[in-house]
């Protein structure tokens, strides 16, 4: 059964359809949420709250073709609101706010050598601007197109395109600048392919 149809069943009040989306996207949503704020409790609550509200308001929702990006977008908004509130009470540092950090566990790298080399690439990735990192995350980790990413991040397509393009360009420039360190590391990784 395709996603569009499942979504229609969800709108019609089928609990099975709700369970379908929850099971199918729980990991994707949780991973994205954790990348955004690194507070598992906030992410967990936001996911619950999101599904609860979607279900309660299902009469007012419209049919959609691709539920996953829609869910990512709604979750992003819930997390943002919850973070805003938590930050008022200074339980969160402002530098933890909506900053995607890539970690070695995010990649299928098994050998220790490879991991060591890969850390350098991660460092470069993590030096990009938060917007660039989030766009790259959505583009490559979720295999979403520019149009979809622009909807999730509330930016126009050109800004998303620029963020990713500029981010990768910065990566390349950094790699050239620090060629003694980085290029060696990078080449080592490349040799493994």
């Amino acid at each position: 059964m395709n996603e569009q149809l499942q979504w229609q069943l969800f709108l019609d009040g089928e609990e099975n359809a709700l369970a379908y989306f929850f099971r199918k996207y729980h990991l994707d949503l949780f991973h994205y949420g954790i990348k955004l704020c690194n507070h598992p409790e906030i992410v967990k609550d936001s996911i619950q709250e999101m599904f609860f509200k979607l279900w309660r308001n299902r009469m007012n929702l419209s049919p959609i073709k691709m539920p996953k990006p829609y869910l990512l977008k709604v979750l992003r908004r819930h997390i943002q609101v919850n973070l805003d509130i938590q930050m008022k009470y200074s339980t969160l540092e402002s530098n933890e706010y909506f900053q995607i950090e890539f970690s070695i566990e995010d990649f299928m790298i098994e050998s220790e050598d490879e991991k060591e080399n890969y850390r350098i690439v991660l460092e470069v990735l993590n030096q990009l601007s938060p917007r660039q990192r989030e766009a790259i995350y959505l583009r490559y980790f979720n295999d979403l197109d520019f149009d979809t990413i622009s909807q999730i991040m509330d930016l126009n397509i050109q800004s998303v395109r620029n963020a990713i393009h500029r981010g990768l360009q910065v990566m390349r420039e950094m790699m050239v600048l620090e060629k003694f360190l980085l290029m060696i590391g990078m080449l080592k990784i490349i040799e493994h392919f």
């Binding site: 729980h26 994707d28 509130i85 395109r161």
Partner: protein
């Protein structure tokens, strides 16, 4: 889409990486992309170095994986479905036999409990027929009740509490106006929820104090033990978890003022202003909850608030005539059922005041 040869010098890593067909080529997804890029690189050997790097970086990016520790999908789905069912029960299902049974049980119990005041919740949001007990505590009095589940509630002066004769299948809901101290028996399957005019306070099993009088500036929830989730009734503010020795303070005075001054027509197109609550850490829990043990404690409070407490405690009116005096902070502890005169004399002992009394009204002023 591969670029023309004369542009190749301008082509960098990022250009390859942001190209969809390049991604499909590296992933080997579709034949068309594979053929296109194989041809392209054969025709543009000058770009080979950048191209090879791009292929390798793309391979890395395609090696992403998602893993999260402690992901309990099934458990959380269960939690979600329970929440949803819960919500639907309260929205009423006419045909359900369970709903009928609960209604019948409600009516039977209603007939038995004659000594109490009953309300049919036709008027409230719920259309379910639920029988409630209501306890109204007048000024100068206090009351204690023990619920069927063993939970203990102390109710302060000038307060009103309403609770169903039989608790809902899923949740234990009570409605409070004024101040009460709750010592709730733990039951994870049936959360206990206190609704007040401004707050929604949800717990599993803890003790905490809720204060939400109509003429107070703030609605306050103070936690003694356990964890309490507090939510504002009016704004779309997510629930906040409050820990022991913390309190949640929501300013309710601004919203009330607006309601009186604004014309009804104007109000509808104005979005309600978001009033954000404040969480105070390390509050004096003993002072806040002392009333339930018949102790009147003022803990570094302005005389203005001391006067309000005295009004409720002694069922009198207290007026402070001097503006400066209202802000004067005061500490004191009265544990032996002192009279209001003893309390006023004690205040006089540390702060120079004078007071007059007329028909249960007290007037406090600076000494003449």
């Amino acid at each position: 889409m591969p670029w023309k040869m004369e542009n190749f010098e301008a082509i960098h890593l990022e250009d390859f990486l942001t190209d969809y067909s390049f991604q499909s080529f590296v992933a080997g997804e579709d034949r068309e992309s594979v053929e296109r890029w194989t041809h392209w690189i054969a025709a543009n050997p000058q770009a080979k170095k950048e191209f090879d790097t791009a292929v390798k970086v793309m391979k890395l990016l395609l090696k992403t994986r998602k893993q999260v520790s402690n992901l309990h999908t099934e458990q959380e789905l269960k939690e979600l479905l329970a929440k949803i069912q819960d919500n639907e029960i309260s929205l009423e299902d006419e045909s359900s036999p369970a709903a009928w049974w609960w209604r019948a049980a409600g009516i039977i119990l209603l007939l038995i409990s004659v000594s109490l005041v009953f309300y049919f919740a036709f008027k409230s949001k719920q259309t379910d027929l639920v029988a409630y007990n209501e306890v109204i505590v007048p000024l100068g009095e206090k009351a204690q009740i023990v619920l069927a589940d063993g939970s203990h509630i102390w109710i302060n002066s000038s307060s009103k509490i309403k609770y169903p004769v039989v608790f809902d299948k899923k949740e234990r809901k009570v409605y409070l106006e004024g101040e009460a101290f709750f010592d709730i028996t733990r039951n994870e399957k049936h959360p206990f929820i206190v609704y007040t005019p401004d707050l929604k306070v949800k717990v599993l099993g803890t003790s905490f104090n809720v204060k939400n009088y109509p003429n107070d500036k703030n609605a306050v929830t103070t936690v003694v033990r356990g964890l309490v989730s507090v939510e504002s009734q009016k704004n779309e503010i997510a629930p906040i978890l409050v820990n022991p020795n913390e309190n949640y303070v929501l300013n309710t005075s601004s919203a009330k003022k607006d309601k009186i001054s604004a014309e009804p027509e104007k109000q509808t197109d104005q979005l309600p202003k978001k009033v954000l609550p404040i969480i105070n850490k390390k509050v004096n829990v003993e002072a806040i909850t002392s009333w339930k043990d018949q102790m009147l404690i003022f803990f570094d409070e302005p005389l203005e608030e001391v006067a309000l407490k005295m009004e409720r405690w002694y069922n009198v009116k207290v007026h402070i005539l001097d503006g400066e005096l209202k802000k004067e902070r005061y500490r004191g502890k009265f544990v032996n059922n002192e009279t209001i005169y003893q309390v006023l004399e004690a205040i006089k002992f540390t702060t120079p005041i004078s007071y007059k009394t007329k028909n249960n009204e007290f007037f406090i002023d600076k000494p003449k």
